[in-house]
Symmetry: C2
Subunit: 125 residues, 2 copies
Amino acid sequence: MPVNPAVKLKLQIYCDHEIAMGPGKADLLDAIAAHGSISAAARAMGMSYRRAWLLVDAMNRCWSGPLVETLAGGGHERGARVSELGAEVLRQYRAMQTAAGQAAADRFDTPLAALLAPTPRPAQH
Amino acid sequence: MPVNPAVKLKLQIYCDHEIAMGPGKADLLDAIAAHGSISAAARAMGMSYRRAWLLVDAMNRCWSGPLVETLAGGGHERGARVSELGAEVLRQYRAMQTAAGQAAADRFDTPLAALLAPTPRPAQH
């Protein structure tokens, strides 16, 4: 098929009124695990250090313990790692994403995809 | 439980690079069905007429036929109705939302909810 009709899914977990986990926070955890510090992870994601720090701070306050542990010394460049709890939460969040995405795709493939146009018709405005 | 940890899910269907269906468009279809015109639906949703019209235009270009049919005469206040195709697409989109949400909730209830804090701990900034 020339078309690639995509089903996109965004999953957020709230702790009270704060977002405890979502696509951006999950990607940040992956980046911290890969790069070993919040600042390097932020750079890799094209995100300010402050923004990354705020996301980490929210995650660290919303679960039963911190998802990211910072190592002593060195300011912004000091190391950080994803805690065991963080790895577990991330793994389960990814499993939720997969399960929800699969459920949506299962429903989409059969009846709804057939009703989609190959490409949008031209706009009238 | 004093907590209400919410799992929120946003589902979008793309036709090429355009969003053919999503939460806002689905709610707009419901409002058009309820109110009988695009302008009344827009008002009910606190949305500008232009914004609602653009969403309808996108939906009408992204499926095998129009999801919303406007009735002759009367400018902005003329009537509009959800087509049979629109009702079918909406029904199937809602079913996808339900299935994906249920799959996510099933995964959440057991292992992940237990790891969530009752409320976020105080921010350190």
